[in-house]
Symmetry: C2
Subunit: 551 residues, 2 copies
């Protein structure tokens, strides 16, 4: 075993590697592929391989500050790269494998990656990149003899001379880099310093945060190619939690199998995955009793999803809210002690995005940038700052996104007097109707309360009189298609009349972005292309009651 020691004095995420080795050496990392166990080893072995791999990187010419990319699913070698690249003094750049080859080429060029580790199955995504960057070194994670690669992954580890000493870094050096999914404009890079990720890790392990501990067996359903897999791999290393990796494109049945087989205690996922997991688990009767926490993030889950997961699977559900620019976690929706004996009060807190994690600061501002009160009523855009909040994009100035040290999140929220945030909308998804705001998220939540509705998305469409009006796209449960009027009638019981969408569009599935969010850009394009869907000259539309509007 390599007895390399941490540097000390600075907040470096690679310290967690040594901690895992020295205190949790026999704890396990388990990998599945297509629902079958394909790898299992302990932290001592993991640490030894990581140190050897870091040595190999240095031998291959990686220098402190270089960007080294990964294009990989959630597997044990990706977890090794999470530590080996920063240990070599370089910057771990996780590339989103759901992007198009052109977008990947743009990102790799912008980051100026000197080297990339890619799964063999994903190499076609790199064709454009490699033609543009012939000098970039490529290592294939899972095929020893790939023609164009500098070496096989296992060969690198086997032939590495031990890292004699850790390349010097400070806590303010970058450890990782991730590009936003770019729903507007070109993708933008967010650099994470060691300090940012270190403090983020502490926050993830707080008793009032995700509370990752030595008792946990975490399953990484959240992709490791995006936003540090919510930072949970670092939290697991620090605390000695065991880690289960579900491999390439895990299906809900595979996730259910893994949770039951490996007694997983903690996992997190986007709501759409949770919907399918719930359906499968209920149908199959999967045992979820080991799971102490299922955390939903990435977009707002419906109240019904939360209740169904808790009632039908018997697991505790929490929400986390964050974004790439916040490393990514900003809040956690742990209900207060007062809700322990009051299920309704508990649900009322879990449906919100949660309390601010210690270490961070926030404020709400109106359209003019003036602060609005945190009174449980006033809405404003959430502005954030703190040690793991970005203050700039990577090699790109973006002054409208960063104001006096604050990040403009683009999310519109309400913060109550106990510090619970409720996101009511994305700033760009608000529907500005007759001088008032209609929340597309609130409308979607209200639509989802209709038992026939499986999924819903609301967008704004331009309107000659009211400026904007809502249009709803609705996916019905199989065999439960309702008329537009029936949907509107039910909806009218729950929202002000002037919020009612101009049109209810039934669709089989909602388009989604590479990270699983509803792709409203595509919906807007689709709406504007379908003349019969939206005709502002149509008299029935202009006649929609608008009594509540103050214009």
């Amino acid at each position: 075993m390599n007895q390399l020691s941490p540097i000390g004095g600075q907040l470096l995420i690679t310290d967690f590697l040594f901690r895992a080795r020295d205190m949790f050496g026999r704890k396990e990392i388990i990998e599945y592929t297509e629902g079958v166990e394909t790898h299992r080893y302990d932290y001592a072995t993991y640490a030894d391989r990581v140190i050897r791999l870091a040595g190999a990187l240095v031998e291959l010419g990686v220098r402190p500050g270089d960007r080294v990319a990964t294009l990989a699913w959630n597997h044990h070698r990706h977890l090794e790269l999470y530590m080996a690249i920063p240990l070599a003094g370089a910057v771990l750049h996780t590339v989103n494998l759901r992007l198009e080859p052109d977008e990947i080429a743009y990102i790799v060029d912008h980051a100026d990656d000197t080297m990339i580790f890619a799964d063999a199955s994903l190499l076609p995504l790199l064709d454009v990149t490699r033609s543009r960057r012939p000098q970039m070194k490529v290592v294939v994670t899972d095929e020893p003899e790939y023609a164009d690669a500098v070496a096989g992954y296992e060969q690198l580890i086997a032939e590495s001379t031990l890292l004699a000493e850790i390349p010097p870094r400070t806590e303010n050096d970058l450890a990782a880099l991730c590009y936003t999914s770019g729903t507007t404009g070109a993708p933008k890079g967010v650099g994470y310093t060691h300090r940012a990720l270190y403090l983020h890790t502490f926050a993830a392990c707080l008793a009032d945060g995700h509370a990752i501990s030595e008792r946990d067996r975490v399953c990484h359903v959240v992709p490791m190619f995006h936003a540090n897999a919510w930072g949970i791999p670092f939290a697991a290393l620090m605390s000695g939690a065991e880690q289960v990796l579900p491999g390439p494109h895990p299906t809900p049945p595979q996730i259910a199998t893994i949770v039951a087989a490996e007694s997983v205690t903690y996992t997190g996922m986007v709501p759409t995955v949770a919907v399918d997991l719930l359906d499968h688990a209920v149908a199959s009767g999967t045992d979820f009793s080991s799971l102490r926490a299922l955390v939903l993030g990435g977009s707002t889950p419906s109240v019904r999803l939360i209740a169904d997961l808790e009632d039908k699977l018997g697991v505790r559900v929490f929400q986390g809210w964050g974004m790439t620019e916040i490393s990514p976690m900003a809040t956690f929706s742990r209900p207060p002690a007062a809700a322990d004996d009051d299920p309704a009060l508990r649900h009322d807190h879990v449906r919100k995005q949660g309390r601010l994690l210690p270490g961070l600061h926030w404020k709400l501002v109106d359209a003019e940038g003036s602060e609005v009160p945190q009174d449980g009523k006033s809405q404003g855009e959430v502005l954030m700052r703190g040690p793991w909040v970005a203050t700039t994009y990577y090699n790109e100035s973006h002054p409208d996104k960063f104001v006096d040290g604050w990040l403009r999140t683009g999310d519109i929220g309400i913060i109550d007097e106990q510090g619970y945030l409720e996101i009511v909308d994305r700033a760009k998804d608000l529907i500005k109707s007759g001088g008032e705001w209609i929340s597309s998220v609130a409308l979607e939540q209200a639509l989802l309360q209709n038992s026939a509705v499986a999924d819903a998305a609301v967008i704004a469409v331009k309107h000659p009189r009211w400026q904007e009006r809502p249009v709803a796209f609705v996916v019905f449960h199989q065999g439960e298609r309702l008329s537009s009027q029936a949907v509107l009638d039910e909806l009218a019981e729950r929202v002000p009349k002037w919020w009612l969408p101009e049109q209810i569009v039934a669709t089989d599935v909602l388009p989604r972005t590479s990270v699983g969010k509803v792709d409203k850009k595509t919906l807007r394009t689709s709406a504007s292309e379908q003349a019969d869907l939206w005709d502002p000259t149509n008299a029935t539309i202009a006649a929609v009651p608008h009594g509540g509007v103050s214009s």
Copy 2:
């Protein structure tokens, strides 16, 4: 209410004040005096008073970096000073009220305190100090009209103009200062930066640390005048835990009353207090069911005390190990998940000092400074480094205590392969007998297994042949006095024969230092003064079997 906001960007402990105000405004701080409730208010009120008090300090001329002292018991005003002094940009210097007036004068002079907040009952302790430092401002915490004071405490708050802005500080500025109890040589100051205390607070709130959370009601039995009350006041503010202050010199019956009346969930104390609390609680049948954690620290508790607290009171016991130089916490003895269903394994971990808190590093070194393995067998002095470990004393060089960035703790320990530390002795309390070490702590623990023995302390006394030999001081339970031979016979079943003390000295009580540790210096003096107690020319002593010694 004052809407002053935190600075942001830096790790400042005063951020926790704003967090408590904005998210936990209705949570309570409760104060008892002599077992009776004397004060109760919420965090919103607390924060408002703290901000006013900080304003008053600035008006009184306190400047960034100034040391402002406290000489006070655990009460609500002391808790206000914990935040107000750092918020004013100054350094909170807690003075140990168990010291002699001369020692206090030395410490206040050395720290160059410009101002002191003292309880009226403790003012006589300041006579020497005040005669030497007539320019030092004095505020009495609890008597409005004290003759010599600059103003009454409540008057300061009432008349304060609001702090217009927070005096600027960085995370590397000192927030607090505490002097070691000085069992050897003059007291030495340990300065705590904002960064150190901030990270220490995060560590205290980790799920695998003390796990202080919003669900907690903590009781500060540990004196606030020493080592930041283990940092728990900061942890409570950050997490929104409610705080109960037991007032001046709380007795075990008073502590028991408070725990039951206030549904305290967490408290910590030194083992001697826990012994008396246990006796009282068992005799009185106090309800301790609210208590989720009783943490012992400051010295090593006996295995019997841990078992009795768990079995007779039904509370979970943990150990923390640390020292003034480590802010003070370094470890926490949470048993691993594997011990959940195995009480014996659980106790075997709780009797150890515990796992290193994340953020810190340690190593074991032998007498020559060479590293020894962490294998569960090898002993060495524990060296520490990390963001909340001192690297120097306050305004005083002490090169033998700090080596290459490491703190020499003076504690001899064993670290096992799961990272659990067991302290076997203070370096200076080891008995060097015939070239081998005898652990005074292990001998004390073995003596305490005798059901007639209530307390025990072992010291080394010089010996012409074996260099040093152990002598034991023993306190018997009432009515259970045994002969020396009976004690030795029982002890011989548990320790190697050559460990057996030369003498068993029965005594009514063990002398203790100002922070509750056994005062071995006094015992050594007492031993050397009593010729009949120890006569190295005595033939029976020289004949003590020494078979196990390798000399």
